[in-house]
């Protein structure tokens, strides 16, 4: 891209350059195209807006005019009950957040170990590999609620540890189940890093574990970040299941409040709080995925 005219540039190149400059002012055809696209855009926006509004209004009218609406409104959307239940449900949510925090750390550690073990090569590691494979097969197939019961009521029965709070067992069950999923995500990431990268790292004298830590893992994690975020969002709402063990989290608190008030509004409140909790991560994950896509298909229209 010539920025300065060289003295010996031929005149034909100079004309080319000036033609180039000229082309930057849109031609009438391009202007007409742009006007048309703008018009198309405006039309599409108006159509989708109008259809959305019409659909929402119909739905609203249908619900509000249904014979049982007054009843449902009172038992699910009762403002007074919601206000009354708020402190306890919010306190319960705080427990969910703490459980989520420890479970996330636990899942990160356990799943990385399992994924690494599953990618170890050589017959020496066969028993370990088989064990890790068995683990992921077992816990990806088993419903979380059953794992919760088994861990929450089974392990304490062994009397191995002192008395642990219910949420401890809930966290453990979450780690057990989610590590199986996340390990598979990590494994896919590790295997997507081209073997030549390992070769290049080893040829520099890096050991197997340093190659994994400094070269393979950083690339693997980058590739699977969207999938990891998705699993995190799933776990964020599954922490509500620890209530089946009796831990007083947001769901359990809502249940208590519901029983006290003979009104289901606390459940709606707890549900909304869970949604609020997950929103930042959902947005972050959308943003990140969009950014990745933009980077990978620069200039693509479709």
């Amino acid at each position: 891209m010539p920025t300065r005219a060289h003295p010996c540039l031929s005149s034909s190149i100079l004309t080319l350059v000036s033609n180039d400059r000229e082309a930057r002012r849109p031609s009438p055809i391009e202007l007409e195209r742009r006007a048309f696209r703008r018009q198309q855009n405006t039309r599409s926006v108006i159509i989708s807006l109008v259809s959305t509004v019409i659909f929402a209004v119909i739905l609203w009218l249908a619900v509000v005019n249904s014979p049982g609406w007054a009843q449902v409104q009172n038992s699910f959307f009762n403002w007074d009950t919601i206000v009354q239940a708020f402190p306890r449900v919010a306190e319960g949510l705080w427990l969910n957040i703490r459980v989520l925090f420890y479970a996330t750390i636990g899942v990160a550690v356990v799943s990385l170990i399992i994924a690494t073990v599953r990618t170890l090569r050589g017959p020496v590691f066969f028993p370990l590999r088989a064990l890790a494979a068995g683990y992921t097969d077992l816990f990806r197939g088993m419903p979380l609620i059953i794992v919760l019961y088994l861990v929450g009521f089974g392990i304490p029965g062994l009397n191995l540890f002192g008395r642990m709070p219910l949420e401890f067992w809930g966290t453990l069950a979450l780690i057990t189940t989610y590590s199986a999923y996340v390990a598979e995500v990590f494994r896919a990431g590790i295997e997507s890093v081209h073997p030549s990268q390992r070769l290049a790292a080893r040829s520099l004298g890096l050991s197997y574990s340093k190659t994994l830590r400094l070269v393979v893992m950083p690339q693997a994690i980058r590739k699977v970040t969207p999938a990891l975020m998705n699993d995190f969002i799933a776990m964020q709402k599954d922490v509500g299941l620890i209530s089946v063990l009796g831990a007083v989290d947001a769901v359990r608190a809502a249940q208590i409040e519901t029983a006290a008030a003979f009104n289901f509004s606390p459940y709606v409140l707890a549900g909304l709080l869970f949604v609020l909790l997950s929103l930042p991560m959902i947005r972050l994950s959308d943003w990140y995925t969009a950014r990745l896509r933009k980077r990978e298909q620069m200039g693509a229209l479709v």
Binding site: L199, A200, A201, S203, L204, G205
Partner: protein, 258 residues
Amino acid sequence: MSPTPNATARDAEQAVLRIDNVVKSFGETEVLRGISLNVKHHEVVALIGGSGSGKSTLLRCINLLEQVDDGQIFLDNRELTDPRIKQDEVRTHIGIVFQQFNLFPHMSVADNVALASRHVFKKSKAEAREEAHRLLERIGLGEKADEFPDRLSGGQQQRAAIARAIATNPRILLLDEVTSALDPELVGEVLDLVRELKQAGVTIVMATHEMDFARDVADRVAFLDDGIILEEGPAKQVLSKPREARTREYLTRFHASR
């Protein structure tokens, strides 16, 4: 030029790299069927030969990325093929650059170059970075030091890969067709760098299809054919007046195809 037995023994003595009767098969196919080659200090040896003749395999055996099936390889009279040897430690003394630039995409060029100094030789981060910058500066990539590899042209990437391979001052540098994945107009800059390395006294073994370059830079050329070194000698002699009919045929075919 047939050296007397005495001279051969002395050569072997002085050799940085000594390859002795190396055999390597992949399943049924015997790729290397008894390769012997000595490389002296400051010497540049070019490996030529048809596609599939085993040039890459030989280089990878030297760097212990493949395990030989028989024979021995010595670096400074230490046997690398001994299973008791510390392979990671050996590899720090041997630099290798592959055909496809295997820079690490998640680190800057300078971090690529500094990686081994930092994590193998345990230098401080600042020192390793400083060294990497100086090296990149010297090979004309100073401005690109903080860029990520995908922002560099193919030629620049390959030069950065070479910089990474020599950053820790290996005893020997192995180059595996470092220009064959490059657009023709980018080949020159990489070959110039190799030429400079030779002038700086780096010992190099390179597999190459660039005959003119081999003639120009290599001290010796070895022609691999059917798993053995069929002919070996001073670059000009092998490339201009090959003794073996097969070598002549290969070179003729090579020139005809260009």
